[in-house]
């Protein structure tokens, strides 16, 4: 029982166990269903004591800041002088600011392309890895694809910058072997956007890959056997069986990938500083720049509020769509 055997069942770890036992917990009327009133009273006290560090901490460092951020969005404040109330001015300025607009657009394009690439690549690799092959080889592939996840985005971006150098970079050297002239990766809008996406996907596809591995492992063999009798083999088998049965995993993977991609900062900050032009400037970078390079805290907050609203809307939309398209076993 070591890492050489892949999980036979997707629900390893906490979540899986949770799924099998929640019903029982509720069925028994909750833990300590037979407990006395005194114990219930004790439970309440204990609950609040146990929750105190998390709830107080979150209240202080997350909830209050969220509220403060919303309030701040209505003020002009540079810290050096006193804040002044400006109503919706920050919002209207921000919405009209071409840089902010472009950065939101960039973020959306980035999310769409990066997430599609990440999920597509991860799914294809997961399907290939889960087919028949020697166990050691499978472990090797899984570890290899997982590896970039443990690196810091900052250091990855540092070495990727060198690899994508136009004149002296390794990437262009390989391309030159097949006769492709030097690509101006970091010096043209298209090139640098591509690099930011590639570097981001390079580092993050392993996460979706792991999710898909788990999802694939929980698809029963019989399903494929039945499909084979119906004549579905090869890619058609995956189209008609794997994809529908994997849709819950795909939903989770896409929600997580989208939330994380919407917040991308480290890669464009280290790779391109948002350039050339505004071509790789993301929403989160604009928040950073207006807050800490120009001390326009009110505007920064206004941008932050807009971004949060967008994230929430997208997430809600995804779950709503999922009701129609996700197939639950």
């Amino acid at each position: 029982m070591s890492t050489t055997t892949p999980p036979r069942e997707r629900p390893r770890g906490a979540a899986g166990r949770a799924r099998t036992t929640t019903a029982r917990t509720h069925g028994a009327g909750g833990t300590g269903g037979a407990a006395t009133t005194g114990s219930r009273h004790n439970q309440r006290w204990l609950a609040w004591i146990f929750l105190a560090p998390t709830i107080l901490g979150m209240g202080l460092f997350t909830l209050i800041p969220i509220v403060a951020s919303v309030v701040l969005a209505f003020f002009r404040w540079d810290i050096i002088s006193a804040p002044t109330f400006v109503g919706f001015n920050n919002f209207s300025e921000v919405v009209q600011d071409p840089t902010v607009r472009v950065s939101f657009l960039n973020t959306i394009v980035f999310v769409v392309v990066a997430v599609a690439l990440q999920l597509g690549l991860a799914l294809a690799l997961a399907v290939m890895v889960q087919e028949k092959m020697p166990a050691w080889l499978r472990v090797f592939f899984r570890s290899a694809f997982f590896f970039p996840l443990i690196l810091s985005a900052a250091s990855v971006s540092i070495f990727m910058r060198y690899l994508f150098n136009e004149q002296f970079g390794v990437v262009n050297w390989f391309l030159s072997l097949v006769g492709i002239p030097a690509v101006p990766w970091l010096t043209t809008p298209g090139g640098s956007a591509a690099v930011v996406i590639l570097v981001y996907v390079w580092q993050n596809f392993g996460f979706s890959f792991l999710l898909f591995i788990g999802g694939l492992a929980s698809i029963p063999v019989e399903t494929y056997e039945a499909a084979a009798i119906d004549g579905a083999t090869g890619w058609r088998k995956h189209l008609h069986v794997t994809l529908p049965l994997l849709s819950p995993t795909t939903l989770v993977a896409s929600v997580m990938a989208i939330i994380s991609a919407l917040q991308v900062f480290d890669q464009p900050y280290v790779l391109t500083r948002g350039g050339p032009g505004d071509s790789t400037r993301t929403a989160v970078m604009v928040i950073f720049e207006s807050a800490f390079q120009r001390l326009e805290f009110g505007q920064a907050s206004a941008i932050g509020v807009l971004l949060t609203l967008i994230i929430m809307a997208i997430t809600a939309a995804q779950f709503r769509l999922s009701k129609r398209f996700v197939f639950y076993q």
Binding site: R12, A15, F265
Partner: protein, 300 residues
Amino acid sequence: MTTTTDRGLAGHSPRLSQGLPVTTPNRKKFNWSFAVRTLLLLLAAALTLGPVLWTLSTSLRSPSESFKLPPSFIPWNPDFTSYGEVFKQLNIFLLVLNSALVTGIIAVGQMVSSALAGYAFAHLKFRGRGALFSIVLATMMVPVQVTIVPVFMLIRGMGLSDTLLALILPAIPTAFGTFLMRQYFMGLPAELAEAASIDGASPWRTFRSVYAPLAMPGMAIVGILAFNFHWNEFFRPLILTISEQNFTLPLGLVSLQGNLGTGSISVVLAGVVLSMIPALVVFIFGQRALQDGLTAGTGK
């Protein structure tokens, strides 16, 4: 998007067992599908590991040879001058100490606080449990950049500007960890608590002697996840620390690129390689837990 699979059957069928050598019976013919698949996978693995190998081998070349083409991926004649230079230019020990302190305390803090809160949400009854838990989950959607300004002011108010504590304290309460631990505790059989309460154990005793010991693996997952995330964290340290003495590793590395970009490439890459070592240790020993943790709680 429809399928005719029998749901009842699917739920109870044996799972696909890829690990076992279920080879196709004596097929002598060359297995094209296997070959193509393996080749594609090998290509993907090469693209994944290649940049890292190149980084390693370049860091082991002398600065004047760092832009060598064609590239080499294996350091045949390692030259360690760049590593010496990193130690000269950066106080690596201090960076590692800072990163270790910050990450270590956050990890332990998250393990403890999320175990307690997770237990309360899973097994203790109190009014507003559902609503409170929903709020905790919802905070996961708010990007850290949105709250950073108020957090910054809060830290200033606490007199903790430009300290490691400024990085640590806000990171200890964890929505994801709490969620994970709640799931974990719910996965433990409820009969344990029933048995304990029949024995007359108080809720606290039930937690301490029955559940807490069983929760260790779950806490380990939370700890390793926290380690992986905060060891590599860039944005918050960028904002919340100013003095070089308070830098964490990723920040130190980016600054190694030098004022006005005067840094030597092999020296920068040597720094990158050094910073990977602790992550590599986690990779080797904690890969399983990390993989579980990353994917845990994502089941429907």
